[in-house]
């Protein structure tokens, strides 16, 4: 559905280099991204600010023309065939509205039907589904400018789906939303993805979005893909480990070593310790620890994707 090969985008940036002099410098926002995304996949596209996520998305949607490489979406070349492609994709920008600011929400939907030339019956059916799943009925008559961010985002999602796109691009769809709205958006997207009719590509800073929605994770940094695979593969590759946190009744003896685990944290006068488990089962580690020191409480912590990604960005 989406294919890119060595996709690049350079920006020329003028940098002040003297009182009146400016130097031209080329910044590679996207430096050779090769991706292949099949129909019905749900892909999370993440990276730190300025990594090139949005730029890639804009090249896939025909907003920006690439500086080099190849790109194909739905069998079309995005920039030369922009209007044709627009009929087959849906785009949600978390920070930019696609709706008509001063008109009631339902009017935006009616307009989009004309813009995308959707037959009335199809339009009605899709709108009905979205109204049900996203609880739009309470604010369909409210001008968009008066909607809360959560309501507006539900409107944006509907707007992007009314023409039945084959691919849905979401650029930070949960940005700024409260927990409840985030949940609503995520469950909606999960349901949408489960039908398998739509290919989903989403960028986000909220890794919970990814854990909830995407099997495949593409991590980009400095314009290059640094990881492409499942979340599990990411953990395996970057050695993120489960850890064992124990509250001890007496302080941990100095020089204590737990076979197959590394001591990574000591707190509260050596009464609370954290071990990272390298290839040893939690059961064996607990047994070894109990044999050496009396334990009051303990827990096993699953690896946190945020930590992995933070390490990835830092490295």
């Amino acid at each position: 559905m989406i294919k890119t090969k060595d996709l690049r985008k350079d920006f020329a940036v003028r940098v002040k280099s003297g009182r009146f002099r400016r130097e031209k410098r080329v910044v590679e926002a996207v430096a050779g991204v090769s991706l292949s995304i099949g129909a019905g996949e749900m892909v999370g596209y993440i990276g730190p600010n300025g990594a090139g996520k949005s730029t890639t998305l804009k090249m896939l949607t025909g907003v920006l023309s690439p500086s080099g490489g190849e790109v194909e979406v739905c069998g079309l070349r995005p920039v030369p065939q922009r209007t044709k492609l627009a009929l087959r994709i849906g785009v949600v920008f978390g920070q930019r509205s696609q709706l008509w600011w001063d008109l009631p929400l339902h009017e935006s939907f009616a307009l989009l039907r004309h813009i995308y030339r959707v037959p009335a019956a199809e339009h009605r059916e899709r709108l009905r589904r979205c109204r049900e799943l996203l609880d739009l009925d309470d604010f369909l008559d409210t001008p968009v400018r008066q909607l809360s961010l959560g309501q507006r985002m539900r409107g944006e999602l509907t707007a992007a789906l009314l023409h039945g796109p084959r691919v849905l691009f979401l650029d930070e769809p949960t940005i700024g939303l409260d927990v409840v709205s985030k949940q609503a958006v995520r469950s909606f997207l999960a349901e949408l993805g489960a039908t398998g009719d739509v290919t989903l590509v989403l960028t986000t800073h909220d890794l919970a979005d990814i854990e909830r929605l995407c099997e495949r994770l593409v991590v980009i940094d400095h314009g290059r893909v640094v990881h492409d695979g499942t979340i599990e593969a990411l953990h395996a590759r970057y050695g993120s480990r489960r850890s064992l946190v124990a509250d001890l009744s007496s302080p941990l003896p100095p020089g204590f070593e737990l076979p197959g685990a590394t001591l990574i944290g000591v707190e509260a006068d050596r009464h609370r310790v954290t071990f990272a488990l390298d290839g040893v089962t939690a059961g064996a580690a607990v047994a070894d620890l109990v044999a050496a020191v009396p334990i009051r409480d303990l827990s096993v912590v699953e690896p946190d994707i945020e930590d992995v990604v933070a390490r990835l960005y830092a490295g």
Binding site: F11, K58, V63, L64, R96, Q98
Partner: protein
Amino acid sequence: MGEFRAYVALAGAQARSAFSYRVSFLIEMVVNVGATFFDVLSVLVLFRATDRIGGFALPEALLVTSLTSAGFSLADFVVGNVDRLKTYVRAGTLDAVLVRPLGVLPQLLLMDLPMRKVLRVIFGLTMLGVALGLNDIDWTPSRVVLITLAPLSCAVFMSAIFVISASLAFWWVESGEIGSAFTYGGRDFASYPITVYGPAFRGLFAYALGFAFVSYQPALALLGHADPLGLPAWAGFASPLVALGAATIAAIMWRVGIRQYRSTGS
């Protein structure tokens, strides 16, 4: 056909949006009536101060002024909005326009429906009618053709200037009011017989940029006067071609500009 209906729907939405701020719409309307009144006044004042301008009698000069006014106001009404492009480029709003299955320029133009500018079009056309009445024109068939084509060519030419000035923003986001120098500056230049300007200035604006063909040359052809600056009589009929040339350049610049668009980070 479906595309046309989409544009109609967009225009309707824009009108409804404008009416959702009724008071400000009304105020704008009133302000524009006032501005139009001052337009009339400034022409009257100018023509009371002297009786010949650049070797042209007043009614003749008025024909030049009114041709420009009619064409420019028409262009301003239809594509004048395009000068907001720089705001959209700066804010990155153009992204939303680019992901829709419609042309970028028509969408931008329909993002605001300047009903308030209609008054100026009416004023321009009325002035043109008055100027035609004041001059004793020998109405040959070719002149009848010319008087229908001339305001339209002028409008097309001015529209091209609007689009070219606006597309500067694709390369140079801080283009600011540079574009206005060519749009409003060009209108003011073409409002008087070009014989009033010095040779260097005239050479640049009138011939290199083509503003002589907006109103001056067609007016000469309508009046049946020989050009004091020496261009042959058919030069007046060249204005549609000049307009077409300008429109082609504008279209190319626009297309190249869109490819150049850099969006903003988000």
